[in-house]
């Protein structure tokens, strides 16, 4: 007779010894007066079988991690069809975001589009307007790159003050994946750009197959530089919610331009000035004038742990302070951490040297004295740009910008280990 993991049945022996009570082991681990039963008693997982292969043909996280999921803030939008949710960055480590918990932003819902039904049209000022199938795209030479995708509205709810109590909600409109795709340049050259003449003042207009279209104008210089027509992320097909089968990847630039279900690229001599680049994704300053074409994402960072959803539970002593940093203008070169609300700073350790337009993980391995902290992080990128405070940003932009809030974030970590989103002077 054997016992599988599935039902977590205690063995007869455990049952008789009384060690099967939930949590019995956890209590003993710290005190070790009579020996930890998780060690001294034979556990069912050490005796019977676990699940066989194929029990889950496509694996999901174990049930104990079921709280590490995307979450929505219902009051932000009228309906989930045109809405956004947030990556659980407080519970992740490393830099690659698993697709299954990477934030979603739809303007007309995530559509179900089969590869067989997929078409990509290149038209406008090209030598030969072309139509490609998905299979055609797979025959172009392709590249792999890791890039972050951040919604321009990430941290947007925090302009007027500390609002949302968790890194997932203040900074979770971001993900970071390894993309496989064809440079847009290759596809434009296949259609031929002689008809466009001087490329220095030309644009491409990119749009999706969904009802929203989400059309955006991109200067030709960027289109020919590093934009990818991507069909894989983290090694597997894109998820429906991220644009399956094909999305645009626009490194370092606001997520709204990363058009999903990409169906058309038009070469033109002027921007379209679509809804998404006039009425939205423009940044209104205090004097009522608005910035447009604010494509690049400024250097930014956040401590992901400890944070409101990831409190310190172990008391004083060794503590790993960890977070993420990124810049749309290149690589992160340094991250500083302050425990006193910005009076003094110490330089954190980067897990790996920063990579251009990709998330960088930082750690500050510290010894916590158990006193409260006002925890902040401050990123620097290869251009020498230093992540500003919210006060510095407000000085230039006022309170109504909505987008591109890259301010330094403060978590008030209390003696209890709990943390809260606060603003400091």
């Amino acid at each position: 007779m054997t016992f599988g993991f599935k039902n977590r049945k205690p063995s007869r022996r455990q049952f008789l010894s009384g060690a099967a009570a939930v949590g019995a082991g956890a209590v003993a681990a710290g005190t070790a007066r009579a020996g930890d039963p998780l060690i001294t008693e034979v556990q069912y997982w050490a005796q019977g079988f676990g699940e066989g292969v194929d029990a889950t043909p496509y694996g999901l996280p174990i049930e104990y991690e079921s709280d590490v999921i995307r979450r929505n803030v219902e009051w932000l939008t009228a309906d989930t069809i045109s809405s956004i949710n947030f990556t659980p960055i407080h519970a992740l480590d490393g830099t690659i975001t698993p697709q299954g918990c990477a934030f979603e932003r739809h303007h007309s819902g995530a559509i179900d589009l089969r590869k067989e039904d997929y078409r990509l049209m290149i038209n406008g000022l090209v030598d030969t307007p072309l139509v490609f199938t998905y299979a055609d795209l797979e025959r172009f030479p392709r590249e792999n790159h890791v890039y972050f995708c951040e919604c321009a509205a990430n941290t947007g709810m925090e302009w007027a003050g500390a609002q949302l109590n968790g890194a997932q909600f203040t900074h979770g409109m971001i993900h970071n994946m390894e993309y496989t795709g064809v440079p847009l340049r290759t596809i434009l050259e296949e259609a031929g750009l002689n008809a466009a003449g001087d490329l220095s003042d030309k644009w491409v207009y990119v749009e999706g197959a969904d009802a929203s279209s989400n059309g955006r104008s991109i200067p030709m210089e960027k289109a020919l530089d590093d934009v990818l027509v991507a069909f894989k992320a983290n090694g597997e097909a894109l998820r429906m919610e991220h644009g399956y089968p094909v999305r645009l990847v626009v490194p370092g630039w606001e997520g709204n331009m990363w058009v999903k279900w990409l169906r058309r690229v038009e070469v033109s001599d002027a921007p379209v000035e679509s809804r998404e680049e006039t009425s939205k994704y423009t940044d209104t300053l205090a004097n009522g004038i608005s910035r447009k074409w604010t494509w690049e994402m400024d250097a930014k960072s956040v401590v992901t742990s400890p944070s409101p959803q990831s409190p310190i539970t172990h008391g004083k002593g060794p503590l790993v302070i960890s977070g993420l940093a990124w810049s749309g203008r290149g690589a992160i070169t340094r991250v500083d951490v302050s425990k006193d609300g910005g009076k003094t700073w110490e330089t954190a350790r980067l897990a790996k040297p920063g990579e251009r337009m990709a998330l960088t993980r930082f750690y500050l391995d510290t010894d916590w004295d158990g006193e409260e902290m006002l925890l902040q992080s401050r990123a620097m990128d290869e251009t020498g740009y230093v992540q500003p405070t919210k006060a510095q940003l407000r000085e230039v932009r006022g309170l109504n910008s909505i987008y591109h809030n890259n301010c330094i974030q403060t978590w008030w970590v209390k003696a209890s280990g709990e943390a809260e989103n606060v603003e400091v002077s």
Binding site: S108, A162, I289, T294, S425
Partner: protein, 211 residues
């Protein structure tokens, strides 16, 4: 615009030098797009009206259509219901706390409204309106914003006559100059005298429950 053009030109030269001229070998993939295919998908309309099809619609027809297709979210008078977008009002609020951004108060180009209604509305039934219906609905949105008279007829010919109040309300991204002071040597010690907590998220209490 002129400043931006110069910037683009400079960058384009750099790209060309780095990667060679744009006249690469072709792979012979894909097939020519047929004219009717391009016509079916190339629907976008530019600020100068390029891309507008022939047609027209008047305010009162637009009023009826708006009531039928749009008012459920945007309200009978384009004033918006609940969290759905308000399309009218908000004039003169852009420099206020919480500005009201509508087609009338904020959108710089009429083409954007026509393009979006034509391509993406009504919500849940996009591309179901006829060309004349789109003209009529856009005419009604303009009327709701007091931008045209009640007898106005919007057409591809009257389109250039409409002036959008916030047409001059935009500047091109100036972060490189306006925020040049963020490129600096960061302070490491004695950066400020004292630190006070000035605002707390928990007091506001608008965070969803996650447990």
């Amino acid at each position: 615009m002129s400043k931006y053009r110069k910037l683009l030109a400079g960058m384009a030269i750099a790209v060309t030098l780095a990667t060679g001229p744009v006249a690469a070998d072709k792979f012979g993939l894909g097939r020519p797009a047929l004219p009717e295919e391009v016509a079916a998908w190339d629907l976008d309309v530019r600020p100068d009206g390029t891309g507008l099809p022939e047609g027209s619609g008047d305010v009162w027809t637009g009023d009826e259509l708006f009531g039928e297709y749009c008012a459920v979210c945007h309200g009978d008078f384009a004033e918006g219901i609940d969290n759905w977008p308000k399309l009218a009002g908000g004039m003169g609020t852009l420099d206020h706390e919480d500005p009201l951004k509508t087609v009338g108060s904020y959108w710089p180009y009429l083409s954007t409204t026509w393009d979006y209604v034509n391509r993406s509305m009504p919500f849940g039934n996009a591309q179901s309106l006829t060309t004349d219906e789109v003209y009529a609905i856009v005419a009604y949105i303009l009327y709701s914003n007091n931008l045209v008279d009640e007898d106005f007829v919007l057409s591809n010919e009257t389109f250039p006559d409409v002036e959008m109040p916030n047409a001059d309300g935009f500047i091109i991204d100036d972060r490189k100059t306006a925020e040049a002071h963020f490129v600096t040597e960061p302070c490491m010690a004695n950066c400020k005298e004292s630190v006070e907590i000035t605002m707390r998220a928990r007091v506001l209490d608008v965070t969803p429950e996650t447990q």
